[in-house]
Amino acid sequence: MAITAPFSYPESIKEKFIATPGLKFKDGSTVSSAEIWEFMTKEAPRRFPYAFDAGANNMGRFSDDVNFLSGIKRGYLTLTLKDRIMKEHAAGTPTVLVQGGQAMDAYYAAGGLPVRPGLVMQWARNMEEGLSLRQSETLGLNILESGRRKISIDACNQIAAHAAIDNKVVPIDLIAPFLCLRCSDMSFLVETHRNREHDIPRYLVDYPVDHENKPWAAEYIATELRELISKIAALSGRIITDEVIFDEIKLENRGRRIATEIADLWWGAENPPTNSTDFFGIAFLANDFVGDPVAAVDLLEQSKLEIEERVRNNVKGFGVPDNAKRLYICGSCVGPNAHHAQTAGAIFVGRDDSWSCISVPVEEEGDPYLNIAKSMLAYPYEQRTEKRAEWTAEQVKRSRADGVIFMYQWGCNYQSGVARMISDIVKEKAGVVTTFVEVGELGRSEATEQSTNRVEAFIEMV
């Protein structure tokens, strides 16, 4: 691995940064921008040096666009996740393993702290501080391989999250994901916990296939959501009323709306106002909420203002190549390296996975359980493949993409199963070139040449 100077934020932007609003959190606390600056320039580089590795292979590398100040706050939310979870957990908030790309409303409303497998892994790696990128990756791989040794080499990287729970690297109080068509491994990996030493309670919220025009599918999910919420509430001690759930729905809907507006602004701009890292990082906040929907929505609002200003002034995000080829990314859990793609002359303009649940707000009146269920069933990503592909083709057109890369990771049976079909349909419906790539290097920055070569060759072809 090449040794490069660590990434750092220049002092020249400090004054401008600390003049911006801080962040509000769900416990009512606030953090000033001066405190964020202090954390991101002093404390975080010391505690999490891997995150500041400036190597191009570092998939989690911060954005080079230091003048996009919301991007710095986005990094703050990422790097404070561990502290925030541990603090809340110590105060009695139950931590819940969930599925990625799904509505979090029910979990937060019930007083839980939902963490998807990717965040569990990040949290697990951050439990040991002061690590370089290589050390941090080695730690992550050790956890992952311990899981594969116990279960199977066929498991996708998600097994690392389950191993981190098994090995008690991180404290999880409930394992209760939604199932869906995105993931083949989740249900079976949840099942493996029944044969472990720990006795963490488990629950699965089933997600019926082929559910269009079948009201009983939503009723089935709604009944399960009641069970899920009662299980979390029993741990959190929160009294759940419809009003409590609707408050959470309204907050998260607000996040979804702002993220959608940001996407529309971004897509409509003459020049991409941010680079790929910032665009994806910000929009993703309405998908995941990084442990705190209040903070995530606050940052989404600030980001939108910043992007609006850039679009007004026709500012191109730092790092965006001239005449960049616009690529739309499909598939779960993995994506191409944004830095490599930018070097090769491309920018990412959208992602079907993240965009899917952001695009479907939850109704704010009526039966909140049924409303969340209906919303989940409306996610474009979880429709029959043909319908999903048609929605993707529309996204490709709206984002003015020049090409589509469908990526799936080693061990993923469900996304891999439809990669070709989606690529074929999108090619036909949107009239752009498509490719699909399998990657096995999720979670590490070495031996990435195969996928990098394929992505770069595709960009050249585009």
């Binding site: 044969n195 080693w410 079909m421």
Partner: protein, 392 residues
């Protein structure tokens, strides 16, 4: 002992494609189905011809199928896709409708691909992951009802209760007959082998169900007439129980190896094998009654169950191992069949002292010698253990 009825079954199977062709000319429709929870009784009761589709063991067809899916999907799915791509299989080319249940979600994906790339009329039956709950049952009842309505439209006929009752009776009798055959193949003086019973089961999926039932009853009569007592010194044998991923027709790699090395397969809990016929009792002849019965039988490994102690699939496995007096379990897993692969270690733990060998494989021949070495050592170990036990 040569069983003449087995020859009759083989002959009936050989004639079946031509027979189907004739029936289709007369206006009959053929429904190819796949997976574990398709209620075949309803298809039959509507006057449609049910045929269970899907073969394994052919690496070439796997490659053909892989052009439309990925190498991260199990070989069975890839091969079935290959069969649809080529359309040379005598049954695949005669299908008017393909019905797949979503017990295994990879098979659901298969349905989408068959529909999209090969222009087959398809229908999906949703299956709840939370199959043991009241809400899971309620969901599945509605799914079976919806499935029935779609089939009624396809058949151009309504489901009559008397026809369903008749169908249920035929299928009950078939299941009972298969159970009887399994009991006989497990005897010390077995009149037929597990492999032969497996062939009989697979043949039945293609034959007319009433004809098949008659053949099964004839076979059982023939066996019972010729049953003999065990005489002389019994040879020490390794009685092997097969568990894990499905072993569809055509996939004989592991079976061949076990038998070539002197092992004797005496039972299985495969969803392509014996499990399919167990604990299915329809007490109410309606789509709801059928739904409940299917969901309450031995669960399929693709449906997650979160409590180890009350897992019906594992309880059945333990019971069958004892029932068939098996000496060891060969746990067969297909690559990327996560449902069964992820359970291998756990199954070994649950079975405790029962000798256990996991074979993780595909349909290619590249691992034959590696498998042979492992199976040989396993069989030798079992036999040695039994020899020592006899000496003591």
């Amino acid at each position: 002992m040569g069983l003449k009825t087995l020859d009759k079954i083989t002959a009936a199977l050989e004639n079946r494609p031509a027979e189907l062709e004739q029936l289709r000319k007369q206006g009959k429709k053929v429904v190819g189905w796949l997976a574990y929870n398709i209620p075949e009784e309803i298809i039959y009761a509507l006057g449609l011809i049910p045929i269970r589709i899907g073969q394994g063991g052919d690496g070439r067809l796997v490659e053909v199928g892989a052009r439309h899916i990925s190498t991260k999907n199990c070989v069975f799915v890839r091969q079935v896709l290959g069969q649809f791509a080529e359309k040379t299989d005598p049954y695949i080319k005669q299908l008017d409708l393909v019905a797949i249940d979503a017990t295994c979600i990879q098979l659901y994906r298969l349905e989408e691909l068959i529909n999209f790339y090969f222009d087959y009329n398809t229908i999906v039956l949703g299956v709840p992951r939370n199959f043991a709950t009241t809400e899971g049952h309620e969901y599945f009842r509605k799914e079976v009802e919806f499935f029935t309505k779609k089939l009624e439209l396809f058949a151009g006929a309504n489901l009559e209760q008397s026809r369903l009752e008749e169908a249920i009776k035929i299928y009950d009798n078939i299941r009972e007959a298969i159970k009887t055959l399994y009991r006989y193949q497990g005897l010390d003086n077995a009149p037929l082998s597990w492999r032969q019973v497996s062939s009989v089961i697979n043949a039945g999926y293609n034959l007319d169900r009433l004809t098949y039932l008659e053949l099964l009853q004839e076979l059982i009569q023939e066996i019972e007439k010729n049953l003999s007592e065990v005489t002389g010194v019994r040879e020490i044998e390794a009685r092997i129980f097969l568990s894990g991923s499905l072993i569809p027709p055509g996939d004989t790699k592991l079976i061949d190896i076990i038998e070539q090395l002197g092992g004797r397969i005496v039972g299985d809990d495969l969803w392509s094998g014996f499990n399919f016929f167990l604990n299915l009792k329809i007490t109410e002849p309606t789509p709801y009654g059928v739904a409940d019965a299917y969901l309450d039988r031995v669960p399929h490994g693709s449906l997650p169950y979160l409590d180890l102690a009350s897992d019906g699939r594992l309880a059945n496995l333990k019971h069958q191992i004892k029932e068939f007096n098996a000496d060891g379990v060969v746990y067969h897993t297909l690559r990327y069949c996560d449902a069964f692969t992820f359970k291998a270690g756990e199954t070994k733990d649950v079975l405790g002292n029962v000798p256990f060998l996991e074979i993780h494989t595909e349909y290619s021949g590249s691992d034959i010698e590696a498998i042979r070495t492992r199976v040989e050592a396993f069989i030798e170990m079992i036999k040695s253990k039994k020899e020592i036990a006899e000496l003591v």
